[in-house]
């Protein structure tokens, strides 16, 4: 299966890393599953919906995690979160070339309430610790459930996000926005609207995704190798933070009145903005070159 979007988390991870190099930590055979779901008499997964381990990418040692959208939409529960936090903390000891997060998550697993919320905050703290240690953390986002809630925030704490057009990245998901703000504000069944607002192309144009690739595991692999080769120590200084805040304030000022992503694309000076969603990725990248926010 070449499609990243359709592949399972395990297929993605095996296809992404150098062939035969992946070693799973706490595999399904270890039977580490959620204690909360058991109490609720809800089906559990033997890996709690996340695969963690180590392997090689382009011959370099990396740690990697992949969330399985097929189990509870990749939602973060206590065990799920602990596996991810543990992997990140392991990076502090092992000093791999990078940590790769193959995200696919609706956010916190509501069944596990506070335990899930705490897990997400631990993930965020661990990401920042790994980055502070000079180890880059890269996010790959192209799964069917997108990346929302706590994992949406966590993704933006990392060094870089690579998306496919089919991937989505946001804080609140479309249904949540519609429920809280009304269908006039955001019609979650208007799939074209959902994707042009939250999908990879828009995130790439806004600068939230560093790269955009076609929906293929091989394309994500190439992009991850590219990031690995260019990786440099992040600038986490106060001045850099302030510059980032100024950039975001400018962005809000520049696009705050736009009603639709297409308005943003138009004001970025992109020709025929309404046609962007139909373009294949190489054509899209060429058309929008030097036009990103």
């Amino acid at each position: 299966m070449s499609s990243y979007y359709e592949a399972s988390a395990r297929e993605r991870l095996l296809g992404l890393l150098d062939e035969g190099s992946f070693q799973e930590i706490l595999p399904p055979s270890a039977r580490i599953s959620s204690p909360h779901l058991r109490q609720l008499d809800t089906p559990a997964a033997f890996d709690d919906g996340i695969i963690v381990g180590k392997g090689l990418l382009d011959g370099k040692p990396v740690l990697a995690a992949a969330q399985e959208g097929g189990f509870m939409g990749g939602a973060v529960g206590e065990v799920h979160g602990a596996k991810l936090t543990g992997l990140l903390e392991r990076a502090l000891d092992e000093k791999p070339a990078a940590v790769l997060l193959l995200v696919e998550s609706g956010g916190v697993r509501l069944h596990e309430a506070n335990a899930g919320l705490i897990a997400v905050s631990e993930i965020m703290r661990a990401i920042l610790a790994v980055r502070a240690a000079g180890i880059p953390v890269f996010v790959l986002d192209g799964g069917q459930f997108g990346c929302f809630g706590g994992m949406g925030i966590a993704s933006r704490l990392c060094d870089a996000v690579v998306m496919s057009e089919e991937g989505r990245l946001g804080l609140s998901g479309p249904e949540v926005i519609e429920t809280t703000m009304g269908v006039e504000e955001f019609d979650s069944r208007d799939r074209a609207l959902v994707w042009r607002t939250l999908g990879g192309k828009h995130r790439y144009l806004l600068g939230e995704a560093a790269g955009i690739v076609p929906d293929a595991i091989a394309a994500f692999r190439d992009a991850a190798i590219g990031l690995l080769r260019q990786a440099q120590a992040p600038d986490l200084s106060l001045a850099a933070m302030q510059a980032e805040h100024r950039r975001l304030a400018n962005r809000l000022e520049r696009f705050g009145q736009c009603r639709d992503a297409i308005d943003i694309w138009r004001s970025l000076g992109i020709e025929e903005p309404a046609g962007l969603p139909l373009l294949e990725i190489p054509e899209f990248v060429a058309r929008t070159q030097d036009r990103r926010a």
């Binding site: 299966m1 070449s2 499609s3 359709e6 057009e165 089919e166 069944r189 208007d190 799939r191 074209a192 609207l193 959902v194 994707w195 042009r196 999908g199 192309k201 969603p277 139909l278």
Partner: protein
């Protein structure tokens, strides 16, 4: 001396009452209520155009808003009940009797209204039966139809969704009834004349364009690998062996999988130009890759499909298009083609019993039939031969001493378990209980077992043509019913015997490697792939996009 022109004089009286509301044929939308009050009389037979896709929704609202003290006891004769207004007229006491074909979206409410005594049902028809009765004993007195555009003379342009309009207007007009059309726009000149102005009495520009439902779009992303496997079996075990070239596909992911395997799997088997050349089919987006690959020579359609307009316009060699370039569909004629001119019907269903009867009826819903029973029935009046028809007829009659004749292939394609682990194979159809509860004359069987030639499941193909006797037939059905209770109750030895005789065939008997049945075999795995295959001409509705 008997009067021979009472209907004409009655018509003239109605038109005279409406005269103050109109100059020429055009009536303002604000006067629509007054127009209907002027022309309708209690007890009238009324056809409110409700199709599978196109809806005369403005006229439906106006009709449902009339005063039941003035207009009542109407007898509605329409093919599809799709909108709430189609039943509001009964709830409000404007109409009291119903003859129809299909009520999918309103099936639950229809059952409640019937149980509450708010309407009586004359009969539930297939499309062709109802259209036939328009020309015998159920001719509409008033027809309320929908079209894309009209000119001042009343000429109508229906656009690609012609659907039922010609048959309704023809029946009504030529029995001196009154035809009222709602149109999206009034124009100086229509792009082509689908309904001559002389057959239309009034046109009203509706405040909003009529609603069209994209009913035939199946997102390839939702096709499962089991469906891919079943589609491989159908192509290799039925289409190739019977050289099926004239066919109809039901709606559903099972048949969409077949359409998407033609450019890949069927191509590899060398079947291009040998199967699937002529179709009675709505313009399914899933057919685009097969058309582009050169499998498909012609497609005639019951209706159109939203988003396919530009693609159809660019492929006039394949589709039926007018001098203006846009498609013309026609439900009645396409149903006739599906019944008499096609060699194969294949579709899915919800329940199959031990004699092969199948039904989509579920308790508490009166969904009707639509067109499937006419497509999925051997056309016993057929005379012209084809290799497919002759081979099926030979298999069914070989050694019986009966007069030789051909037979249509009617294939039912189901996974042994459907949603929520409900078995698709049952000892007794729910249709029996539904018939009892709703006081129907007969259980609503969609496809009769005697017409079914093959049943395809993930376990294999059962060829019912080759079965001799009821017992063999039952074991053939049990033999592909998998782990359902019906399947588990099979006589293993009898089933093995049927397999030895080629009556039951497993994927491996057909030389199909199950491991090959992956989604990678689909010519398109997403709606976007369909757009790509169409060269950007297919413009899918928003709900089917993820870009």
């Amino acid at each position: 001396m008997r009067d021979w022109d009472t209907t004409t004089r009655n018509r003239d009286q109605r038109l005279a009452r409406a005269a103050p509301l109109t100059r020429g044929k055009v009536v303002q939308a604000d006067d629509a209520t007054a127009l209907l009050e002027a022309v309708l009389e209690p007890g009238d037979r009324v056809c409110l155009e409700g199709n599978n896709q196109k809806q005369a929704d403005f006229l439906a609202k106006v009709l449902a808003g009339l005063d039941p003290a003035q207009v009542h006891d109407l007898h509605m004769v329409q093919s599809v009940l799709a909108l709430p207004e189609h039943l509001d007229v009964f709830e409000k006491g404007i109409a009291s009797k119903l003859d129809f074909s299909f009520s999918g979206p309103q099936a639950g409410r229809l059952a409640k209204l019937l149980a509450g005594g708010q309407l009586s049902i004359g009969a539930i028809h297939t499309y062709l039966e109802l259209f036939g009765r328009y020309f015998t004993d159920l001719t509409p007195r008033i027809a309320l139809v929908a079209a894309q555009a009209a000119d001042a003379a009343g000429n109508l342009y229906t656009g690609p969704n012609t659907e039922d309009t010609p048959v309704i207007v023809e029946a009504t007009c030529f029995k001196r009834g009154i035809v009222i059309a709602q149109v999206n726009e009034l124009v100086d000149q229509v792009p082509r004349v689908d309904i001559p102005g002389g057959w239309v009495d009034f046109v009203i520009q509706s405040p909003k364009p009529h609603y069209i439902e994209p009913l035939f779009t199946r997102d390839p992303a939702q096709i499962s690998e089991i469906q891919v496997l079943m589609a491989m079996m159908v192509i290799k075990g039925i289409y190739a062996e019977y050289e099926v070239n004239r066919l109809n596909h039901g709606i559903g992911f099972d048949t969409a999988a077949i359409e998407l395997l033609l450019p890949t799997y069927a191509e590899r088997l060398g079947l291009r130009g040998k199967i699937c050349r002529h179709w009675a089919l709505n313009p399914h987006p899933a057919l685009i890759p097969a058309i582009e690959a050169g499998f498909v020579q012609s497609v005639h359609s019951f209706g159109s499909e939203l988003g396919m307009e530009d693609y159809i316009r660019a492929r006039p060699d394949v589709f039926f298009t007018g001098p203006d370039g846009s498609m013309r569909s026609n439900r009645a004629l396409c149903q006739a083609a599906g019944h008499y001119a096609c060699d194969l019907f294949i579709g899915s269903t919800l329940q199959i019993d031990l004699t092969g009867n199948s039904s989509t009826a579920t308790l508490g819903r009166i969904a009707g039939f639509g067109g499937a029973p006419n497509m999925g029935a051997d056309a016993r009046g057929r005379r012209h031969a084809s290799p497919t028809w002759l081979k099926a007829g030979r298999e069914a009659r070989d050694g019986s001493g009966l007069t030789p004749r051909g037979q249509k292939l009617v294939v039912q394609m189901v996974e042994t378990f459907r949603e929520h682990m409900q078995p698709a194979f049952v000892e007794k159809l729910d249709a029996w209980e539904l018939a009892e509860n709703a006081g129907m004359d007969l259980p609503p069987v969609m496809i009769y077992g005697e017409d079914v030639s093959h049943i395809v499941t993930e376990e294999g193909i059962a060829n019912l043509l080759l079965c001799r006797g009821e017992e063999e037939r039952e074991q053939a059905i049990r033999g592909v019913a998998g782990y359902t209770p019906v399947g588990l109750a099979r006589d293993r030895r009898a089933v093995e015997n049927l397999r030895d005789r080629g009556i039951i065939r497993r994927p491996e008997d057909l030389g199909i490697d199950k491991r090959e049945a992956t989604r990678d075999l689909l010519a398109a795995r997403t709606v976007k792939d369909l757009v790509r295959a169409s060269g950007g001409l297919y413009d899918p509705p928003k709900r089917f996009r993820n870009w």
